[in-house]
Symmetry: C2
Subunit: 160 residues, 2 copies
């Protein structure tokens, strides 16, 4: 199968493109959060909560994932409960722990706001061959792993 010809690009150009995309998506996240009546921290946390739906996060795990103190997470959870996106659930095995479960409607409410982006993105992917989509997905996975490890290193480096 022959895909359309894509313009050649250097790694440097590709990285610059990635940079712009990430910078822009940051602004985008802010706007989406606003539409959901949340701030960007709360939206990020809600993302983690939805992502771990099958094994609910504890408040502390959420703090770690989001790079927040547990005190800040207390505020996040209060707001998310208030807005009906998630709620605290007692951990049966350890009563100090708080499990955070998403409201059943949360995923849907969030998706609805992301829809304009996702619909168009799906359209964009449709313009690439399955092999090309494979390359993209592969790259995302590896870039994520790489970023995660670089991040841990940078955190250790600064003594955090």
């Amino acid at each position: 199968m022959e895909g359309k010809p894509r313009p050649r690009a250097s790694a440097r150009e590709a990285m610059a493109g990635m940079d712009r995309l990430i910078a822009l998506s940051l602004v985008g996240q802010h706007d989406i959060a606003q539409r959901l009546g949340l701030n960007i921290t709360d939206l990020t946390c809600l993302g983690h909560i939805l992502g771990a739906a099958d094994d609910p996060l504890t408040a502390g795990e959420l703090a770690e994932l989001a790079g927040l103190t547990t005190g800040a997470v207390t505020g996040v959870l209060n707001r998310l409960e208030q807005a009906g996106y998630a709620r605290r659930q007692a951990d049966p095995g350890d009563r100090r722990r708080v499990r955070v479960v998403a409201d059943p409607t949360a995923a849907e409410r969030v998706s609805a706001v992301y829809e304009p982006f996702y619909g168009r993105l799906a359209g964009l992917f449709a313009d690439y061959t399955p092999d090309e989509v494979g390359v993209l997905a592969d790259w995302f996975t590896r870039a994520t792993d790489l970023m995660r490890s670089s991040l841990e290193e940078i955190r250790r480096g600064s003594g955090r």
Copy 2:
């Protein structure tokens, strides 16, 4: 030229991968900003300032780009000047305007902190064929355009 075989993936899987990458890069930006002695807003603004080095932004343009009020930008510029990353420059043609120019060393100081990420990312790209890098760069560009237009639409939609 035959690249390594990449696992096939659906557009949905690719989007999920992209989501994770974006979420993580948000945390990463936060950490990088901290290492530069800045907050994430200031770093974002500094990015815009560096990106427009050939035609310096005005304070108002920066506010628009970053999605901030002009009052907030005053604070951003104070902090960036204080930290030596940028300075205000009088606009000869319109004395109401403030042009924001990056300090000559700013780009280098920022790059130094990004280096662990960039070095590894460059290594990652080296593992892809030029055609594959072309696909990635192409996708980044198009995804960025698409996100920009979706964003404008979402902003109009919410009456902003």
